[in-house]
Symmetry: D2
Subunit: 294 residues, 4 copies
């Protein structure tokens, strides 16, 4: 990896047909739609429902992404597991099929020593940049991420998603130094605040890539106030999309359907379905933002 | 209780001096500031750091609030505890000192039967309206709240704070019927979406009461789009204030200090302190919203 | 399923070789060893490290178990997942390969409605008896299990593992009636207390099957005091084996190695390894109980 | 503190009368009963339902204990709280009323830096030996306890209650060195295994003090096998008493009632009550162990 990964790396939504099978054509359109919007990379993660896919489906989704991306942007694949051996299996498979980098949550309930060994073994055996994923249900403290990075030279990234993410980024940047590159996540809600504290990218959802792409461009041009003002326009929409238990996942898919990217807005169960009002709220936001619907 | 409680009930921030003692004068100003802003009620809760106060301090804070409020608005006091007897002790004391209503989280880890008995005993013995507080770390499912209300006639309220709060409100309104009145909470971030689903009030933080008061007025006038547009202006500020681990608590107090309401912006430990950038972000938002600083 | 499953159903330990691959020969010996000890059924579950196996390894382990068991005892296969579709995939595969019944934990974080739909869909589509697995990290309250069973006729079992398990069994037996058959689990530590409250079997670990088999026989013969006295002999050993974070898993495998059943006592990472003292404590207990070591 | 605390420090059960008020006479008998049994110290903690007592009741219970103990044994008082200031309030009050040492859980949800500052401030301001209490719901990793002890010279103790406790003790002894003295807890179930790894005492429940006192004496006499054999006799009883959600708390009180120590076996709500079978199981164990009932 000669160059550092940075910028806007949306996590794809996985489209399903009415029988809840992967809808490859919609997925192809989604990849194209995001690349055309100017994203810097693409990922498959929690928002892609990866933990709800069979191994064959994981392959199918990643293969489709790699095939359509044609090397135009780097591809990040979630490959963690309950145990090291299964994470190695997913990680090797992802690397063989063309993933540029891996995204890896810590194994649940493991003590710090076990977490470090897990990351080091994946790094050593698979040889791909690793995004250490830090989420509220499986946090990786900045000090632990920094220790993992200090103990083994490797292209280490941290995707900081435990709130509050802005100080989390600041802490990780301070602790990790040159050996740890920090991205934000958690729907990108604190994108600008994170950039201000040293993050170099974000992994938001698949919707309104222009919100992030333009903010990122303005930021790099040194137009901080413009970046902030641009991003603030999307605040209400992003708040709606961040609703947990499935509602946000449904809404992102519905918006992609309304834009002609997805054929269906199906989420794998169990997931709480939005009510009719929520769909109206979504539409009103998209209208207000001038998002072109098909 | 002849009339139902409704509208905007901010939860006070508790001001401390530099020795971390309750600063009564600042508290007096805060109560006056919120009542002048047109709030419908006032409360002491988690955001008031009630679980970090001694019994004497709980009394002092409530007494001050009741004294300054002079009956102009109802007063809600958090009075839950690990066990029923201690919750009864807090609740009786709150009632004796003038609290209009109680706010009560379920005891940690109790099975549903124990939770119901706990609420019923407080209702029977203390005779004040009760806000059943539903938070992510101690959730009360809408069905359970509805059952509590169905089994004992009493002025029952639910403060729905487990995300996503908007569908939580809808579910509670449907399940609880006329016996359960539903408020929102969780920093009021989904205030309008909650109103749309049947809530009749919210318990936000002590900052920018005008955000909620005006939204609530517009809503009651049937001007839904105006309500939504007005509220959206505060989105970025509320996002910053909702940051957990102490950061939001510090920022609210700092803003009250900048407005001349608080003398100090001291939070009781342990609490993560915002960095210098966060204070700048706060000031920029307040400036942008035209909040008058002293 | 003409007949109800009941009795002692140990959960196999999965033997690995030094490269952490499944050691089929040791697994064959383990199945034979347990059947010879007189167990009533065999299962693959959490203690088998199923969540740390690839799909191919799940197949290999289940195939080996079915092949060696030759129909002498029923076989239960853990087949839950984060989502319904993946659980259906695992469940169908298990059924096709010869599992008599499925063991299914609820999906993490789903509301009650989603949990019920998940179980009902697996029951309808796969047509095998289902053990609803109730563990502290993913509890299924007895009332919810009873509701699942009441809403759809099916051979429903509950494996009650949320402590305290004895009253959990009592509650489930009362709530579930004839439509829900209750087993104990959680290392079988409360086997006799559970039987007294209406359970008809247990799913302990793979070690000292004679502890459970003899207790179960004495219990059915109406010799309650003898059953209790027999079981109490194993108290200290079972207490050592129930140690979490990996230590118990290592000790069970070490004991099987000492008995000549396993070639290695390898546990998949991350797992905390017992110290030298723990191995000595294990050996002393096995010696004291007269367990024949090879 | 000239001398290190060590040995058997039972945590008192708090007796309540039928109106759920503290029953001082029963408490006096309990203190006397335990001192006569030869315990080395006494404590008030979670098993004493301290978090369910008012401030006046905390004082009453501690005063009674100190008065009856008459300096014959050291007295440990739980004095933690959600925040540092309230913990200081409880701690000062405990020290003024005669507590020899404090037992302090970390504040919920605080990051490591906040936890360290909290312990250091209590140590500096109150000047009593501190037992850092490490429980599953609020764990203090051995490395963190060791760091707290390394950063400030003070009589630091760790009460290791996060399972598995035996390796937890070993890790704490290794990390803490001479600055951290390690006790076990968690109903004392792993008393001998903990001693073997360097603990110097335990804080069990108030029942069968002879189990611990004799084991401790045999251990100090170098009669390890006898200690282990003696302790094993109580395995089934301790397993019953360790049942969570209130059942164990009820059973301990019932046993004290049967022994003539308590007048009532009342537990503060919410608490799950044992069924009739559980009381029979308790009685059978007490009979079998030759515990003299009144």
């Amino acid at each position: 990896m000669a160059e550092k990964l940075s910028g806007v790396y949306p996590i794809l939504s996985t489209p399903f047909d009415e029988a809840r099978r992967v809808d490859v054509e919609s997925l192809e359109r989604e990849v194209e739609y995001l690349i055309e919007a100017g994203v810097d990379g693409l990922g498959l993660g929690l928002a892609s429902e990866v933990p709800r896919l069979t191994e064959a489906e994981r392959d199918l989704v990643l293969d489709t992404l790699v095939r359509v991306a044609r090397g135009r942007v780097p591809v990040v694949m979630k490959s963690d597991a309950d145990g090291t051996d299964l994470a190695l299996h997913y990680s090797r498979r992802a690397a063989e099929r063309g993933a540029t980098a891996l995204m890896v949550m810590p194994p649940p309930g493991a003590p710090a020593g076990g977490v470090r060994a897990y990351y080091h073994e994946i790094a050593r055996q698979v040889g791909r940049p690793i995004f250490i994923q830090d989420v509220p249900t499986a946090p990786v403290a900045p000090a632990l991420a920094a220790q993992i990075a200090a103990e083994l030279e490797h292209p280490w990234y941290l995707k900081a998603e435990s709130p509050p993410t802005a100080p989390r980024v600041a802490e990780a940047v301070a602790a990790g130094g040159a050996r740890l590159t920090v991205f934000g996540g958690a729907h990108g809600a604190f994108f600008v605040e994170e950039l201000r504290r040293g993050s170099v990218g974000t992994m938001p959802g698949a919707l309104v890539p222009e919100a992030y792409v333009t903010t990122w461009r303005l930021w790099r041009e040194g137009r901080e106030a413009d970046a902030e003002a641009h991003f603030a326009r999307y605040g209400t929409l992003l708040r709606l999309l961040a609703q947990p238990t499935g509602i946000g996942t449904y809404l992102v898919k519905e918006a992609l359907r309304l834009q002609g990217v997805f054929r269906h807005a199906v989420v794998r169960a169990p997931a709480v379905r939005p009510d009719e009002l929520a769909y109206q709220e979504l539409r009103r936001q998209l209208d207000g933002l001038g998002v072109r619907l098909s």
